[in-house]
């Protein structure tokens, strides 16, 4: 029927991926802007955004296990590390200082990193079947320390603390993505590749959570007794949630350090897990777009605070002075988490929903 875009005449329309015209228009506009950005802003900003897109893939992963399936995991840094080392080792230089197999094709090592991390997730998942809530959080926290120790000691793989090793080598169809080419700079190429990957993994995740599997995750989160009585196999879905979440973490881990080109075993500390938790909570637990917003927000935050000393002279831009940007950053993390949990538990996504609902009915309040 013409002129009534919100009149659904089939379940297929109602259940479509983008089921309203505003969603289609805004998604299209965002895509266009994101694809034009590399030709409009400087390379260092592009690099930051590329890292943000990768972080978003990781945050989507954590959101699947914690936001959707309700299994609080502090062990995300561990799975990121597994992905990072799988990708770096697979694509690394066979004659280098650290382990490397020379498989530089990006799709190959990205998938392999995801799969190895997913395997680790499946091995860890039985813990989630026996434990819940805080107990699970503490056990997954143990994983981070376990991994931290192994990665510090296993210098043939990781290069050791303070030294590190080169990140995965990104090559697609024989083109090195991190080196400047005839048409595009390395940063532009990486930005575009990371963006495409985020779109792919974002769409896949969104499909998953609106499917039978995603609903089963939510059922396990909200009421596990009722879930089992309507036929959801609790063990199977908890394991599946961990596996998928770890797969995303593995993919993100493998790509995370590519823009920098180098990483060190000290990167995978508890702080990294906490950052991902912050992304999910600030972005909005249980939403895919929220995870992306949260990841971009947390990745861009340091960059914004770095600009502050120019505006607020009492903040010092380097490590000297009474109040430095680094202290400000640490304080901001804490303050933001607390403010969001108290004022807007649905995170940035919740704010967006409010704004949208306000303008939908504007200028009337109902």
């Amino acid at each position: 029927m013409r002129g009534r875009p919100e009149l659904y005449t089939s379940y297929a329309q109602d259940m479509a991926f983008l089921n309203t015209r505003p969603k289609r228009v805004s998604t299209g506009a965002l895509l266009v802007v994101a694809l034009l950005l590399p030709f409009m802003i400087t390379d260092d900003l592009l690099q930051l955004l590329a890292t943000g897109y990768v972080a978003a893939i990781g945050a989507i992963g954590l959101n699947i296990v914690t936001g959707y399936a309700g299994q609080v995991s502090l062990g995300h840094a561990f799975f990121l590390a597994i992905g990072a080392y799988t990708g770096a080792a697979l694509s690394g230089d066979p004659d280098g200082r650290v382990i490397g197999f020379g498989v530089t094709s990006l799709p190959v090592w990205v998938l392999a990193s995801g799969l190895v991390a997913a395997l680790a997730g499946v091995i860890v998942a039985p813990l989630a079947v026996r434990l819940r809530g805080l107990y699970l959080a503490i056990v997954t926290l143990g994983l981070v320390f376990l991994g931290d120790h192994v990665f510090r000691e296993w210098t043939e793989l990781t290069g050791g603390p303070g030294v590190g090793r080169p990140a995965a080598v990104p090559e697609l169809l024989g083109v090195r993505l991190d080196k400047d080419g005839a048409f595009l700079t390395g940063a532009q190429k990486l930005y575009l590749v990371m963006f495409v990957l985020l779109v792919i993994f974002g769409v896949l995740a969104r499909n998953l959570v609106r499917s039978r599997v995603g609903r089963a995750f939510a059922a396990v989160r909200d009421r596990d007794l009722a879930a089992s009585v309507i036929g959801v196999d609790l063990t199977k879905y908890k394991v599946l949630a961990f596996a998928i979440s770890s797969f995303y973490a593995g993919v993100a881990g493998a790509l995370l350090f590519v823009p920098n080109g180098f990483f060190d075993p000290g990167s995978f500390s508890l702080l990294l897990s906490v950052q991902y938790i912050a992304m999910v909570l600030i972005g909005g637990a249980g939403t895919i777009s929220g995870a992306i917003m949260g990841a971009l927000f947390i990745t861009l935050l340091p960059r914004i605070t770095r600009e502050l000393p120019a505006v607020l002279p009492f903040i010092s831009g380097d490590a000297t002075g009474t109040f430095t940007v680094f202290q400000l950053e640490a304080v901001l993390y804490g303050v933001l988490l607390i403010v969001f949990l108290i004022v807007e538990p649905r995170g940035l996504f919740g704010i967006w929903v409010r704004v949208r609902n306000y303008w939908r009915t504007w200028p009337f309040s109902y």
Binding site: Y11, A12, D14, M15, F17, L204, N207, L208, R210, S211, R212, V213, G214, R215, A216, A218, A219, D222, R223, L225, A226, A227, S228, V229, I230, G231, V232, D233, L234, L240, I244, G286
Partner: protein, 265 residues
């Protein structure tokens, strides 16, 4: 008349938590299309029986046969897959999900596609989702839930939540439906609505039901047979009329006044 196997055969189950015996020597059968009610004072073990039937508790003794399959030791999701659905005394809905999603979860076992097709949401996954959405709409229509479809169930009034929970059980297309206090805490109008739905389920869908309920008027009006329990033991099983006139039942549960008033109906 041909002999029809009962839907459910419960034989001498005994369930104890350490020293506390919750259910002791309970036996009953439920015939196809029958509405079987279990009544008794608080703590008599009615809900414990439901938990045994749906696999949440495992009894120490006795057997439960559902369509000739032994249920003892089977995990709840397997029993659900065999066609047993239930509602809970205190609503156990997925409160953050919408009515449609709650009912779609009821159809979890009617869909077969796995995680890999879920990622793509094309082909089989899409087909199954659309077909089951249509089945869910039938339940929405049946229980008159149209106006609540898109609401997260946590925001709905209590009476509607009870109805959604019944809907989730019906969406499973069960062969046996366990109703745990379907009208508890409802006003007269909501109770009458629920009674109408229970009758509709029996007449139109022909599903056998076991109902635990304290509303004697409802039980005596609707049930084909009633089992009265006290302290985990069955006192009497029979038609509503037989049960109401049994001296032991009156002493344990209904009370003398009930008798002098000439029965509740």
């Amino acid at each position: 008349m041909a002999v029809v196997n009962p839907v459910l055969e419960v034989d001498a189950i005994r369930l104890a938590f350490d020293g506390v015996v919750a259910v002791d020597g309970v036996s009953f059968t439920v015939e196809p299309g029958e509405l079987f009610a279990i009544i008794g004072p608080n703590g008599a073990g009615k809900t414990s029986i439901f938990n045994v039937l749906s696999g949440v508790y495992r009894p120490q003794q006795g057997s439960v046969r559902f369509h000739d399959q032994d249920l003892i030791g089977m995990r709840p999701h397997r029993i659900a897959a065999l066609g047993m659905a239930r509602t809970f005394q205190n609503i156990e809905l997925f409160s953050h999900l919408t009515v449609v999603d709650n009912l779609m979860l009821g159809r979890h076992n009617h869909m077969r596609y796995g995680a890999l097709s879920a990622f793509a949401w094309i082909g089989r996954a899409r087909r199954e989702e659309l077909a089951n959405r249509s089945a869910v709409e039938d339940v929405i229509d049946f229980l008159e839930l149209e106006q609540w479809r898109r609401f997260p169930v946590g925001l709905l009034p209590y009476g509607v939540q009870k109805r959604v929970e019944l809907g989730r059980a019906l969406a499973m297309e069960p062969r046996l439906l366990l109703l745990d206090e379907p009208v508890a805490g409802m006003n007269v109008e909501e109770t009458e609505d629920m009674a109408r739905f229970v009758l509709d389920i029996r007449e139109e869908l022909g599903v056998a039901m076991v109902m635990v309920e304290h509303d004697m008027g409802l039980v005596m009006d609707l049930a084909d047979r009633v089992m009265v329990m006290d302290f985990g033991k069955p006192i009497r099983t029979g038609t509503p009329r037989e049960v109401q006139e049994d001296p032991d039942v009156i002493r344990a549960y209904l009370g003398e006044q009930h008798r002098t008033a000439g029965g509740v109906a």
